[in-house]
Protein backbone atom coordinates (compact mmCIF):
# COMPACT_ATOMS: atom_id res chain seq x y z
CA UNK A 1 0.00 0.00 0.00
CA UNK A 2 1.34 3.42 -0.98
CA UNK A 3 -0.03 6.75 0.11
CA UNK A 4 1.07 10.36 -0.14
CA UNK A 5 0.01 12.79 2.58
CA UNK A 6 0.58 16.48 3.07
CA UNK A 7 0.39 17.51 6.69
CA UNK A 8 -2.31 20.09 7.29
CA UNK A 9 -0.87 23.36 8.57
CA UNK A 10 -4.07 23.94 10.53
CA UNK A 11 -4.14 20.52 12.13
CA UNK A 12 -4.76 20.59 15.89
CA UNK A 13 -1.73 18.30 16.25
CA UNK A 14 0.48 21.34 15.67
CA UNK A 15 -1.28 23.89 17.86
CA UNK A 16 0.17 22.78 21.15
CA UNK A 17 3.05 20.60 19.99
CA UNK A 18 4.85 22.90 20.34
CA UNK A 19 3.91 26.58 20.54
CA UNK A 20 6.07 28.47 18.03
CA UNK A 21 7.87 25.26 17.13
CA UNK A 22 5.23 23.02 15.54
CA UNK A 23 6.19 19.36 15.12
CA UNK A 24 3.91 16.47 14.24
CA UNK A 25 3.97 14.12 17.26
CA UNK A 26 4.95 10.50 16.76
CA UNK A 27 1.47 9.30 17.60
CA UNK A 28 0.17 11.46 14.74
CA UNK A 29 2.48 9.69 12.30
CA UNK A 30 1.39 6.28 13.55
CA UNK A 31 -2.26 7.28 13.36
CA UNK A 32 -1.69 8.32 9.76
CA UNK A 33 -0.28 4.90 8.91
CA UNK A 34 -3.13 3.10 10.66
CA UNK A 35 -5.72 5.22 8.82
CA UNK A 36 -4.10 4.46 5.46
CA UNK A 37 -4.00 0.73 6.12
CA UNK A 38 -7.60 0.73 7.31
CA UNK A 39 -8.66 2.58 4.16
CA UNK A 40 -6.78 0.13 1.96
CA UNK A 41 -8.32 -2.88 3.70
CA UNK A 42 -11.79 -1.29 3.49
CA UNK A 43 -12.68 -2.52 6.94
CA UNK A 44 -12.66 -1.20 10.46
CA UNK A 45 -9.60 -2.39 12.28
CA UNK A 46 -8.00 -1.69 15.61
CA UNK A 47 -4.30 -1.29 16.16
CA UNK A 48 -3.23 -4.10 18.52
CA UNK A 49 0.46 -3.54 18.78
CA UNK A 50 3.61 -1.88 17.53
CA UNK A 51 7.13 -3.07 17.20
CA UNK A 52 10.59 -1.79 16.28
CA UNK A 53 9.28 1.72 15.78
CA UNK A 54 11.97 4.26 14.94
CA UNK A 55 11.42 7.99 14.60
CA UNK A 56 14.23 9.46 12.55
CA UNK A 57 13.14 12.88 11.36
CA UNK A 58 11.01 15.76 12.61
CA UNK A 59 7.89 16.52 10.53
CA UNK A 60 6.79 20.14 10.07
CA UNK A 61 3.42 21.62 8.96
CA UNK A 62 2.85 21.36 5.22
CA UNK A 63 5.44 18.64 4.72
CA UNK A 64 4.73 15.97 2.10
CA UNK A 65 5.08 12.41 3.35
CA UNK A 66 5.15 9.11 1.48
CA UNK A 67 3.80 6.09 3.34
CA UNK A 68 4.61 2.55 2.31
CA UNK A 69 3.05 -0.38 4.18
CA UNK A 70 3.45 -4.01 3.22
CA UNK A 71 1.61 -6.98 4.64
CA UNK A 72 3.89 -9.40 6.46
CA UNK A 73 3.48 -13.13 6.48
CA UNK A 74 1.90 -12.89 9.90
CA UNK A 75 -1.82 -12.26 9.83
CA UNK A 76 -2.79 -8.61 10.23
CA UNK A 77 0.75 -7.40 10.59
CA UNK A 78 2.28 -4.67 8.45
CA UNK A 79 5.78 -3.33 8.05
CA UNK A 80 5.64 0.40 7.34
CA UNK A 81 7.96 3.22 6.38
CA UNK A 82 7.33 6.94 6.10
CA UNK A 83 9.68 9.08 4.06
CA UNK A 84 9.88 12.76 3.24
CA UNK A 85 11.77 13.73 0.12
CA UNK A 86 13.68 10.47 0.27
CA UNK A 87 14.62 10.89 3.94
CA UNK A 88 13.45 8.31 6.47
CA UNK A 89 10.91 9.73 8.90
CA UNK A 90 9.54 6.72 10.72
CA UNK A 91 9.45 2.95 10.33
CA UNK A 92 8.23 -0.06 12.24
CA UNK A 93 5.75 -2.87 12.47
CA UNK A 94 2.03 -2.44 13.16
CA UNK A 95 -0.39 -5.18 14.14
CA UNK A 96 -4.19 -5.04 13.93
CA UNK A 97 -7.26 -6.94 15.01
CA UNK A 98 -10.65 -6.67 13.31
CA UNK A 99 -12.92 -4.39 15.29
CA UNK A 100 -16.08 -6.39 14.80
CA UNK A 101 -16.46 -8.98 17.53
CA UNK A 102 -12.83 -8.66 18.64
CA UNK A 103 -13.29 -11.08 21.55
CA UNK A 104 -14.41 -14.05 19.44
CA UNK A 105 -10.97 -15.62 19.21
CA UNK A 106 -9.86 -16.04 22.79
CA UNK A 107 -6.38 -17.11 21.79
CA UNK A 108 -5.78 -13.69 20.28
CA UNK A 109 -7.13 -11.72 23.17
CA UNK A 110 -4.99 -11.19 26.17
CA UNK A 111 -6.52 -11.27 29.58
CA UNK A 112 -6.20 -8.01 31.41
CA UNK A 113 -3.89 -9.67 33.87
CA UNK A 114 -1.47 -10.94 31.24
CA UNK A 115 -1.74 -7.64 29.42
CA UNK A 116 -0.64 -5.78 32.53
CA UNK A 117 2.20 -8.20 33.07
CA UNK A 118 3.31 -7.74 29.47
CA UNK A 119 3.35 -3.98 29.86
CA UNK A 120 5.30 -4.23 33.10
CA UNK A 121 7.87 -6.63 31.63
CA UNK A 122 8.24 -4.37 28.62
CA UNK A 123 8.86 -1.44 30.95
CA UNK A 124 11.54 -3.40 32.80
CA UNK A 125 13.25 -4.41 29.56
CA UNK A 126 13.14 -0.87 28.20
CA UNK A 127 14.57 0.43 31.46
CA UNK A 128 17.30 -2.19 31.85
CA UNK A 129 18.39 -2.14 28.22
CA UNK A 130 17.93 1.62 27.92
CA UNK A 131 15.93 1.16 24.73
CA UNK A 132 14.88 4.26 22.87
CA UNK A 133 11.95 5.04 20.58
CA UNK A 134 9.67 2.54 22.26
CA UNK A 135 7.32 2.64 25.23
CA UNK A 136 5.87 -0.18 27.34
CA UNK A 137 2.60 0.33 25.49
CA UNK A 138 4.15 0.16 22.01
CA UNK A 139 6.58 -2.69 22.73
CA UNK A 140 5.65 -5.66 20.55
CA UNK A 141 5.11 -8.54 22.97
CA UNK A 142 5.88 -11.04 20.23
CA UNK A 143 9.26 -9.66 19.22
CA UNK A 144 12.02 -12.22 19.55
CA UNK A 145 14.10 -10.77 22.36
CA UNK A 146 17.34 -12.31 21.13
CA UNK A 147 16.99 -12.00 17.37
CA UNK A 148 15.03 -8.78 17.14
CA UNK A 149 15.82 -6.85 20.33
CA UNK A 150 19.40 -8.10 20.68
CA UNK A 151 19.43 -9.12 24.32
CA UNK A 152 21.96 -11.66 25.56
CA UNK A 153 22.24 -13.96 28.54
CA UNK A 154 23.56 -11.30 30.93
CA UNK A 155 20.74 -8.94 29.98
CA UNK A 156 18.26 -11.73 30.56
CA UNK A 157 19.81 -12.60 33.93
CA UNK A 158 19.46 -8.96 34.98
CA UNK A 159 15.85 -8.86 33.83
CA UNK A 160 15.20 -12.13 35.65
CA UNK A 161 16.46 -10.60 38.89
CA UNK A 162 14.24 -7.56 38.53
CA UNK A 163 11.28 -9.84 37.78
CA UNK A 164 12.18 -11.93 40.84
CA UNK A 165 11.93 -8.80 42.96
CA UNK A 166 8.70 -7.70 41.32
CA UNK A 167 6.75 -10.96 41.32
CA UNK A 168 8.43 -12.99 44.06
CA UNK A 169 9.19 -15.89 41.75
CA UNK A 170 12.36 -17.76 40.95
CA UNK A 171 13.33 -17.98 37.27
CA UNK A 172 15.51 -21.04 36.75
CA UNK A 173 18.69 -20.44 34.74
CA UNK A 174 17.78 -23.49 32.68
CA UNK A 175 14.57 -21.74 31.62
CA UNK A 176 16.32 -18.72 30.08
CA UNK A 177 16.44 -20.20 26.57
CA UNK A 178 12.68 -20.64 26.59
CA UNK A 179 11.97 -17.02 27.45
CA UNK A 180 12.12 -15.69 23.93
CA UNK A 181 9.41 -13.02 23.94
CA UNK A 182 7.74 -10.70 26.44
CA UNK A 183 4.50 -12.61 25.99
CA UNK A 184 6.19 -15.92 26.82
CA UNK A 185 7.82 -14.37 29.89
CA UNK A 186 4.42 -13.04 31.00
CA UNK A 187 2.84 -16.46 30.60
CA UNK A 188 5.78 -18.05 32.44
CA UNK A 189 5.29 -15.66 35.34
CA UNK A 190 1.55 -16.21 35.29
CA UNK A 191 2.04 -19.99 35.49
CA UNK A 192 4.56 -19.64 38.30
CA UNK A 193 2.21 -17.45 40.29
CA UNK A 194 -0.75 -19.79 39.71
CA UNK A 195 1.24 -22.86 40.70
CA UNK A 196 2.27 -21.21 43.96
CA UNK A 197 -1.27 -20.20 44.92
Amino acid sequence: MNARVTTDRDSPWFSGHFPEDPILPGIGLLNMVADCIAAAKEETIVMAGLGRVKFRKIVRPGEQLDILATSDNKRDQYTFRITSGGQDVCSGIMRFTPQENPQVNNSEVMSNEISQTITRIAAIIIDELKLEDVTPETFDADLDLVDEVGIDSMDLATIALVLRDEYGIRIDEDDYPKLTTVRIIAEYIDNKLKSSE
Binding site: D152, G168, Y176, P177
Partner: protein
Amino acid sequence: MQTEKQPGYKFSEIIADPVIRKRWEKVQKYFFLRESTYDMSNRCNIRCEGCYYFAGESKKQFADENRDPAAWKQLFEAEKERGITFVVLAGAEPALAPELCRVCFDVIPLGAIATNGLKPIPQDIDYRIHISTWGNDTTSLAVRKAPDMLVRQMENYKDDPRAVFVYTFSPVNIDEAREVTELLAKGGQQITFNMFSAPVGYNGHLRHTPETLAQTRRVMTELLAEFPTTVLFSPYNILAHTEEKGLHELFSCSYPRMNPSTDIGLGRSFRQYRTDLAWDREAACCVPDTDCDDCRHYAAGSAVVTARMYRHATDPATFSAWLDYVDTYLAVWVRGYDKGKNLCEHPVIPIG
Protein backbone atom coordinates in the same frame (compact mmCIF):
# COMPACT_ATOMS: atom_id res chain seq x y z
CA MET B 1 -0.92 -15.76 47.66
CA GLN B 2 2.08 -17.86 48.59
CA THR B 3 5.16 -17.61 46.43
CA GLU B 4 8.26 -19.75 46.12
CA LYS B 5 10.94 -19.53 48.77
CA GLN B 6 13.00 -16.46 48.08
CA PRO B 7 16.54 -15.47 48.99
CA GLY B 8 16.78 -13.24 52.04
CA TYR B 9 17.39 -10.14 49.96
CA LYS B 10 15.75 -8.61 46.96
CA PHE B 11 18.14 -7.73 44.18
CA SER B 12 17.17 -4.09 44.56
CA GLU B 13 18.14 -4.30 48.24
CA ILE B 14 21.52 -5.82 47.41
CA ILE B 15 22.43 -3.12 44.92
CA ALA B 16 21.07 -0.39 47.17
CA ASP B 17 24.41 -0.55 48.98
CA PRO B 18 26.33 2.32 47.36
CA VAL B 19 29.62 0.37 47.17
CA ILE B 20 27.97 -2.65 45.57
CA ARG B 21 25.93 -0.48 43.24
CA LYS B 22 29.00 1.38 42.03
CA ARG B 23 30.80 -1.87 41.24
CA TRP B 24 27.67 -3.34 39.64
CA GLU B 25 27.32 -0.32 37.36
CA LYS B 26 31.03 -0.54 36.55
CA VAL B 27 30.90 -4.15 35.38
CA GLN B 28 27.45 -3.94 33.82
CA LYS B 29 28.82 -1.62 31.14
CA TYR B 30 30.72 -4.60 29.75
CA PHE B 31 27.80 -6.97 29.39
CA PHE B 32 27.93 -6.26 25.65
CA LEU B 33 31.05 -8.41 25.28
CA ARG B 34 30.46 -11.44 23.04
CA GLU B 35 33.46 -13.66 22.69
CA SER B 36 34.87 -16.07 20.15
CA THR B 37 38.38 -17.53 19.84
CA TYR B 38 40.70 -18.05 16.92
CA ASP B 39 43.81 -20.13 16.35
CA MET B 40 46.06 -17.77 14.40
CA SER B 41 48.90 -20.19 13.68
CA ASN B 42 49.54 -23.91 13.95
CA ARG B 43 53.21 -23.27 14.63
CA CYS B 44 54.99 -22.63 17.88
CA ASN B 45 58.53 -21.71 18.80
CA ILE B 46 58.54 -24.02 21.83
CA ARG B 47 56.92 -27.33 22.70
CA CYS B 48 55.52 -27.69 26.23
CA GLU B 49 54.47 -30.83 28.04
CA GLY B 50 50.68 -31.02 28.25
CA CYS B 51 50.29 -28.15 25.77
CA TYR B 52 46.62 -27.35 25.18
CA TYR B 53 47.18 -26.88 21.47
CA PHE B 54 49.24 -29.89 20.52
CA ALA B 55 47.59 -32.35 22.91
CA GLY B 56 44.08 -33.71 22.68
CA GLU B 57 41.87 -35.39 20.15
CA SER B 58 40.11 -32.65 18.20
CA LYS B 59 42.97 -32.58 15.68
CA LYS B 60 42.99 -28.78 15.57
CA GLN B 61 46.78 -28.95 15.46
CA PHE B 62 46.56 -30.66 12.08
CA ALA B 63 44.35 -28.01 10.46
CA ASP B 64 45.89 -26.28 7.47
CA GLU B 65 47.18 -22.79 8.13
CA ASN B 66 45.41 -20.06 6.19
CA ARG B 67 47.88 -17.17 6.00
CA ASP B 68 45.85 -14.97 3.66
CA PRO B 69 45.10 -11.64 5.43
CA ALA B 70 42.17 -11.01 3.07
CA ALA B 71 40.54 -14.28 4.08
CA TRP B 72 40.99 -13.45 7.77
CA LYS B 73 39.65 -9.94 7.25
CA GLN B 74 36.58 -11.40 5.63
CA LEU B 75 36.14 -13.78 8.55
CA PHE B 76 36.47 -11.06 11.18
CA GLU B 77 34.08 -8.78 9.35
CA ALA B 78 31.57 -11.62 9.27
CA GLU B 79 32.20 -12.23 12.97
CA LYS B 80 31.58 -8.59 13.76
CA GLU B 81 28.42 -8.73 11.68
CA ARG B 82 27.06 -11.63 13.73
CA GLY B 83 27.70 -9.71 16.94
CA ILE B 84 31.14 -10.77 18.15
CA THR B 85 32.65 -7.90 20.13
CA PHE B 86 35.61 -9.60 21.80
CA VAL B 87 38.24 -11.90 20.31
CA VAL B 88 40.72 -14.23 21.92
CA LEU B 89 43.62 -14.97 19.62
CA ALA B 90 45.49 -18.11 20.50
CA GLY B 91 47.62 -20.69 18.90
CA ALA B 92 49.74 -22.57 18.76
CA GLU B 93 51.61 -19.19 18.95
CA PRO B 94 49.81 -16.10 17.61
CA ALA B 95 52.94 -13.95 17.87
CA LEU B 96 54.18 -15.86 14.82
CA ALA B 97 51.33 -14.36 12.78
CA PRO B 98 51.31 -10.65 13.77
CA GLU B 99 49.94 -9.54 10.40
CA LEU B 100 46.82 -11.65 10.98
CA CYS B 101 46.44 -10.37 14.56
CA ARG B 102 46.61 -6.85 13.17
CA VAL B 103 43.89 -7.61 10.63
CA CYS B 104 41.70 -8.74 13.51
CA PHE B 105 42.48 -5.68 15.64
CA ASP B 106 41.53 -3.39 12.77
CA VAL B 107 38.07 -4.98 12.61
CA ILE B 108 37.30 -5.86 16.25
CA PRO B 109 39.18 -3.59 18.67
CA LEU B 110 38.57 -5.49 21.91
CA GLY B 111 40.40 -8.71 22.61
CA ALA B 112 43.25 -10.63 24.13
CA ILE B 113 46.16 -12.64 22.79
CA ALA B 114 47.47 -15.76 24.49
CA THR B 115 51.21 -15.97 23.89
CA ASN B 116 54.30 -17.56 25.38
CA GLY B 117 55.86 -14.08 25.31
CA LEU B 118 59.12 -15.04 23.63
CA LYS B 119 58.40 -13.01 20.50
CA PRO B 120 57.07 -9.50 21.20
CA ILE B 121 53.76 -8.61 19.62
CA PRO B 122 53.86 -5.21 17.89
CA GLN B 123 52.61 -2.30 19.98
CA ASP B 124 49.97 -1.23 17.50
CA ILE B 125 48.01 -4.43 18.18
CA ASP B 126 46.47 -3.00 21.30
CA TYR B 127 44.88 -6.09 22.79
CA ARG B 128 45.43 -7.42 26.29
CA ILE B 129 48.37 -9.81 26.09
CA HIS B 130 48.36 -12.92 28.25
CA ILE B 131 51.84 -14.30 28.76
CA SER B 132 51.84 -17.91 29.83
CA THR B 133 54.03 -18.75 32.81
CA TRP B 134 54.42 -22.29 34.06
CA GLY B 135 56.87 -21.86 36.92
CA ASN B 136 60.29 -20.43 37.53
CA ASP B 137 62.91 -20.68 34.82
CA THR B 138 64.23 -24.00 36.07
CA THR B 139 60.79 -25.59 35.80
CA SER B 140 60.10 -23.85 32.49
CA LEU B 141 63.27 -25.31 31.10
CA ALA B 142 62.20 -28.77 32.20
CA VAL B 143 58.54 -28.56 31.11
CA ARG B 144 58.74 -26.14 28.20
CA LYS B 145 62.29 -26.85 27.06
CA ALA B 146 63.03 -23.14 26.82
CA PRO B 147 65.80 -21.42 28.82
CA ASP B 148 65.36 -18.12 30.69
CA MET B 149 61.69 -17.86 29.84
CA LEU B 150 60.60 -15.45 32.55
CA VAL B 151 63.62 -13.22 32.05
CA ARG B 152 62.89 -12.97 28.35
CA GLN B 153 59.15 -12.56 28.80
CA MET B 154 59.63 -9.73 31.31
CA GLU B 155 62.12 -8.00 29.07
CA ASN B 156 59.88 -8.28 26.01
CA TYR B 157 56.93 -6.79 27.86
CA LYS B 158 58.67 -4.37 30.20
CA ASP B 159 56.48 -1.30 30.90
CA ASP B 160 53.88 -2.65 28.51
CA PRO B 161 50.38 -1.95 29.87
CA ARG B 162 48.94 -4.61 27.57
CA ALA B 163 50.71 -7.43 29.41
CA VAL B 164 49.44 -9.67 32.16
CA PHE B 165 51.34 -12.81 33.14
CA VAL B 166 49.17 -15.89 33.52
CA TYR B 167 50.69 -18.29 36.02
CA THR B 168 49.39 -21.81 35.50
CA PHE B 169 49.53 -23.78 38.74
CA SER B 170 50.39 -27.42 38.28
CA PRO B 171 51.39 -29.89 40.99
CA VAL B 172 55.08 -29.30 40.25
CA ASN B 173 55.26 -25.50 40.44
CA ILE B 174 53.00 -24.41 43.32
CA ASP B 175 55.74 -23.07 45.54
CA GLU B 176 57.50 -21.31 42.66
CA ALA B 177 54.55 -18.93 42.26
CA ARG B 178 55.95 -16.79 45.07
CA GLU B 179 59.31 -16.36 43.33
CA VAL B 180 57.62 -15.45 40.04
CA THR B 181 55.16 -13.05 41.71
CA GLU B 182 57.96 -11.29 43.59
CA LEU B 183 59.92 -10.81 40.37
CA LEU B 184 56.90 -9.44 38.54
CA ALA B 185 56.04 -7.15 41.46
CA LYS B 186 59.56 -5.73 41.38
CA GLY B 187 59.21 -5.19 37.64
CA GLY B 188 55.88 -3.41 38.07
CA GLN B 189 54.08 -6.09 36.09
CA GLN B 190 50.83 -7.91 36.77
CA ILE B 191 49.97 -11.56 37.23
CA THR B 192 46.80 -13.61 37.33
CA PHE B 193 46.33 -17.27 38.09
CA ASN B 194 45.32 -20.24 36.01
CA MET B 195 45.01 -23.91 36.88
CA PHE B 196 46.48 -26.70 34.86
CA SER B 197 43.49 -28.62 33.52
CA ALA B 198 44.25 -31.96 31.97
CA PRO B 199 43.70 -32.43 28.26
CA VAL B 200 41.47 -35.37 27.35
CA GLY B 201 43.39 -38.59 27.92
CA TYR B 202 46.22 -36.92 29.86
CA ASN B 203 47.12 -38.76 33.04
CA GLY B 204 50.58 -37.36 33.62
CA HIS B 205 52.01 -35.83 36.74
CA LEU B 206 50.66 -32.34 35.97
CA ARG B 207 47.07 -33.37 36.74
CA HIS B 208 45.92 -31.88 40.06
CA THR B 209 44.96 -33.93 43.10
CA PRO B 210 42.88 -32.87 46.15
CA GLU B 211 46.13 -32.23 47.97
CA THR B 212 47.66 -30.03 45.27
CA LEU B 213 44.39 -28.12 44.94
CA ALA B 214 44.44 -27.34 48.65
CA GLN B 215 48.10 -26.39 48.50
CA THR B 216 47.45 -24.13 45.51
CA ARG B 217 44.57 -22.46 47.35
CA ARG B 218 46.83 -21.66 50.27
CA VAL B 219 49.58 -20.18 48.10
CA MET B 220 47.15 -18.13 46.01
CA THR B 221 45.60 -16.72 49.18
CA GLU B 222 48.97 -15.71 50.55
CA LEU B 223 50.09 -14.06 47.31
CA LEU B 224 46.84 -12.17 46.85
CA ALA B 225 47.14 -10.79 50.38
CA GLU B 226 50.81 -9.86 50.02
CA PHE B 227 50.75 -8.47 46.47
CA PRO B 228 47.30 -6.93 46.05
CA THR B 229 48.31 -4.59 43.23
CA THR B 230 50.37 -7.16 41.35
CA VAL B 231 47.96 -10.09 41.59
CA LEU B 232 44.73 -9.74 39.61
CA PHE B 233 42.54 -12.19 41.48
CA SER B 234 39.95 -12.35 44.27
CA PRO B 235 39.14 -14.70 47.14
CA TYR B 236 36.18 -15.99 45.17
CA ASN B 237 38.38 -16.69 42.15
CA ILE B 238 40.62 -18.74 44.42
CA LEU B 239 37.79 -20.83 45.78
CA ALA B 240 36.05 -21.35 42.46
CA HIS B 241 39.22 -22.56 40.77
CA THR B 242 40.61 -24.78 43.52
CA GLU B 243 37.49 -26.71 44.44
CA GLU B 244 37.68 -30.46 43.99
CA LYS B 245 34.67 -30.12 41.72
CA GLY B 246 35.56 -28.70 38.33
CA LEU B 247 33.96 -25.60 36.85
CA HIS B 248 31.43 -27.57 34.84
CA GLU B 249 30.15 -29.46 37.84
CA LEU B 250 29.99 -26.26 39.88
CA PHE B 251 28.53 -23.88 37.36
CA SER B 252 27.33 -25.93 34.37
CA CYS B 253 29.57 -24.86 31.51
CA SER B 254 27.82 -22.76 28.91
CA TYR B 255 30.29 -23.23 26.04
CA PRO B 256 28.84 -25.08 23.02
CA ARG B 257 30.93 -28.17 23.67
CA MET B 258 28.96 -28.82 26.86
CA ASN B 259 25.81 -26.87 26.11
CA PRO B 260 23.49 -28.03 23.31
CA SER B 261 21.28 -24.93 23.47
CA THR B 262 21.70 -22.45 20.65
CA ASP B 263 19.08 -20.06 21.97
CA ILE B 264 21.09 -17.50 23.89
CA GLY B 265 24.52 -16.74 25.36
CA LEU B 266 27.70 -18.64 24.58
CA GLY B 267 25.77 -21.64 23.26
CA ARG B 268 24.44 -19.37 20.57
CA SER B 269 27.32 -17.08 19.68
CA PHE B 270 30.62 -18.69 20.65
CA ARG B 271 32.82 -20.28 18.03
CA GLN B 272 36.37 -21.55 18.14
CA TYR B 273 38.01 -21.15 14.75
CA ARG B 274 40.97 -23.22 13.73
CA THR B 275 43.80 -22.07 11.51
CA ASP B 276 41.89 -23.20 8.42
CA LEU B 277 39.03 -20.85 9.41
CA ALA B 278 36.70 -23.76 10.10
CA TRP B 279 35.01 -24.45 13.42
CA ASP B 280 33.34 -27.43 14.99
CA ARG B 281 30.52 -27.03 17.50
CA GLU B 282 31.42 -30.33 19.16
CA ALA B 283 34.86 -28.96 20.07
CA ALA B 284 33.93 -25.33 20.66
CA CYS B 285 35.09 -24.00 24.01
CA CYS B 286 37.80 -21.68 25.26
CA VAL B 287 40.42 -24.44 25.51
CA PRO B 288 39.34 -27.33 23.28
CA ASP B 289 40.52 -30.80 24.21
CA THR B 290 40.46 -30.09 27.92
CA ASP B 291 38.94 -32.89 29.98
CA CYS B 292 35.74 -31.10 31.05
CA ASP B 293 35.66 -32.92 34.40
CA ASP B 294 39.07 -31.47 35.21
CA CYS B 295 38.51 -28.00 33.74
CA ARG B 296 39.50 -25.12 36.02
CA HIS B 297 40.80 -22.84 33.28
CA TYR B 298 40.83 -19.13 33.98
CA ALA B 299 39.33 -18.51 30.56
CA ALA B 300 36.48 -20.94 31.17
CA GLY B 301 35.74 -19.44 34.55
CA SER B 302 35.69 -15.93 33.13
CA ALA B 303 32.70 -16.87 31.02
CA VAL B 304 31.05 -19.60 33.06
CA VAL B 305 31.11 -18.01 36.53
CA THR B 306 30.22 -14.62 35.11
CA ALA B 307 27.19 -16.06 33.35
CA ARG B 308 25.78 -17.36 36.65
CA MET B 309 24.87 -13.98 38.06
CA TYR B 310 21.35 -14.94 39.06
CA ARG B 311 22.38 -17.62 41.52
CA HIS B 312 24.84 -15.27 43.22
CA ALA B 313 22.25 -12.55 43.84
CA THR B 314 21.17 -14.00 47.15
CA ASP B 315 22.77 -11.65 49.66
CA PRO B 316 25.27 -8.77 49.65
CA ALA B 317 28.33 -10.91 50.47
CA THR B 318 27.71 -13.53 47.80
CA PHE B 319 26.88 -10.94 45.19
CA SER B 320 30.00 -8.98 46.14
CA ALA B 321 32.06 -12.13 45.67
CA TRP B 322 30.58 -12.54 42.20
CA LEU B 323 31.28 -8.88 41.43
CA ASP B 324 34.90 -9.41 42.49
CA TYR B 325 35.10 -12.32 40.08
CA VAL B 326 33.68 -10.28 37.19
CA ASP B 327 35.87 -7.29 38.07
CA THR B 328 38.89 -9.61 37.95
CA TYR B 329 37.82 -11.13 34.65
CA LEU B 330 37.41 -7.70 33.05
CA ALA B 331 40.75 -6.45 34.41
CA VAL B 332 42.50 -9.52 33.03
CA TRP B 333 40.85 -9.50 29.61
CA VAL B 334 39.96 -5.92 28.68
CA ARG B 335 42.57 -3.25 27.88
CA GLY B 336 42.12 -0.16 29.98
CA TYR B 337 39.84 -1.74 32.57
CA ASP B 338 41.24 -1.15 36.05
CA LYS B 339 40.56 -3.66 38.77
CA GLY B 340 38.97 -2.29 41.90
CA LYS B 341 39.64 -3.38 45.45
CA ASN B 342 37.98 -6.70 46.20
CA LEU B 343 34.67 -6.16 47.98
CA CYS B 344 34.39 -9.56 49.62
CA GLU B 345 37.60 -10.47 51.40
CA HIS B 346 36.26 -13.51 53.22
CA PRO B 347 35.66 -16.85 51.53
CA VAL B 348 32.27 -17.49 49.99
CA ILE B 349 31.48 -21.05 49.01
CA PRO B 350 31.09 -21.33 45.23
CA ILE B 351 27.46 -21.53 44.29
CA GLY B 352 27.14 -24.85 42.54
